[in-house]
Symmetry: D3
Subunit: 132 residues, 6 copies
């Protein structure tokens, strides 16, 4: 199995609901350093997994919709906790939609899966892995 | 599949037996930077994989039993080589015991698996992955 | 010259005022991975720059006053932009106060200077360096 | 499952053919920081996955055949794009040959698989994973 | 003293002349992960060292003139060795020209100095530091 | 000012004397990831700070005298605490001796200074800087 990963980052504010979150129930924020991995069993005609330029552009576009925002105000996240693991799935699912929509090129429709890792600090990160 | 990882470290002395280890047969030591990953298929009611505060606390507790010690003197390791890969399993198994004992919360009993990575330097690391 | 550095992190929300900040004028947030460096010309009687346990504790205490907060609501920062470089000075100055107050031990009063680096992502960081 | 990883690096020049590569169609180069991971289900008689000294030596030997070269001139790569993901497979396959040839020791013949990651920058990397 | 650093990278081919370079006398290449640091004694009216957006854009522009090229063919480097340390000065000097030309904003003319670090691998890097 | 840095690592056991060290008074160990930086005002005739091959070799030689050893048994360290900052000076001074002895080449005698950083974990490091 082959894989290619591109890295970007996003800066958000949010709060989390539930006693388990302790002081993180207050409005605060985080930098998420985001790694998006694209997997496939065989390389395409150009000898690659995915056009890394398109992968970088589309990851950037997905993150731009979240960047420099207070996620508590985003209707897409009403009533849910925007935990790091939850946001990893949001990014992975939105990338998957872009793959199926053709934004990563026709060849990208043969991708087998996506994994997204969100690093919230040097000592904690979360990920979501899904097939395509 | 979702995953959450927390990082901590431990400082130990030890020696290894067997020609394969060369100069590492002498008493020496290492810093292990330790990554513990918890996996599950679906998020819990709070929208998380595991309470990251509890995960950090329990990883710290597991490492405290090893920290600032000469592993050659630890009865738990009598007659075995405390290689990096062996110690990765020790940490994973002890975390698994704490999960099943409830130390990471009731919800953590739905975890699917644990992976522990021990970084022994910037150029070498070992891991152990197990189901729960 | 000797130096010792300890690392911790803090999660905050804030907004920045001024056209130069573009979308960062909106309420957002950041993880700052914080490196605090203590310098001195000669080691103390124990052969160290500073008690690393106390240095870690005091850095943690300084960051706890900022952690999981919206800095826009902090009276200490009324009317100023809490830029990364500005916050580096805040952390350095508060550490300096603790050094002079004795919180890092009597020997720490011989420290020559402090540098604080705040990493806001994998591609940007800021620092402030001051004498003691 | 246990795993051990060793890291090394290689410096190469090359060009890539196809519009998808944009300016990378010109002759340029890259540092690849290379992580080679060896996996097996159970530890060997010495309590390890593989002799880390041999693993490091053999990874170094595989990379020496590529290092400080223009890959466009290497007959082994005639007519193919030496993309990062393609080179990850080259390194993995050449390591696999060395494992089966005994260069990593007799015990290494019980290895279950190899994964090779090539980091081409701080924001992009590629990998190839294969069984043994 | 305050400082702000931004990171980017560049991919080049080149060869080096002189016995000291051994196999690096052959045409090869490297990824340079580039950190550009801007220093000043006091923050500007916006509370910053430099507009990080402009700093990132101008570093990118300086690197674009080198990226995906064979430096052996660049007339600007005729007769010199494009060693990592030499290239660090090239990037620093070109950034300094842009600062004095106003490309980083009027306030940037108060910058005290620039340091550029070029990482050529995970085990080697070089830097050049200059006043402005 | 130009600088070149090379990285290596060393694995040692030791104990520290003094209440300030708490549990580190017990025999334990550490991996030190070691960065040695060489500085000079102008490049040499080859356009470099120092022959990076020789710098790497000599750093390796200095570390080999410490590697896989219990520093408590080393007569060179009798009666002193082998703290991270102390060991940074040991490495820097031994490198300085090799520079003045010619082991890094004749040109290296024009080096202005050396800085050695010892990383003891992902959250703590120490350094020593000296002129030549």
């Amino acid at each position: 199995m082959f894989a290619v990963t591109v890295r970007d980052h996003v800066l958000v504010a949010h709060s989390l609901r539930g006693e388990v979150f302790g002081p993180a129930q207050r409005l605060h924020g985080a930098t998420y350093v985001v790694d998006a991995t694209f997997r496939r069993a065989a390389l395409d005609a150009d000898g690659i997994v995915v056009d890394i330029g398109l992968a970088t552009r589309e990851l950037g576009a997905v993150l731009a919709d979240l960047n420099h925002r207070n996620l508590d105000d985003d209707p897409a996240f009403a009533g849910v906790n925007t935990s790091t693991e939850f946001l990893a799935r949001v990014v992975a699912d939105r990338l998957a939609d872009r793959v199926s929509g053709g934004a990563l090129g026709d060849g990208a429709r043969d991708l087998a899966g996506i994994t997204v890792v969100l690093h919230e600090s040097h000592v904690a990160w979360a990920s979501y892995e899904r097939p395509l």
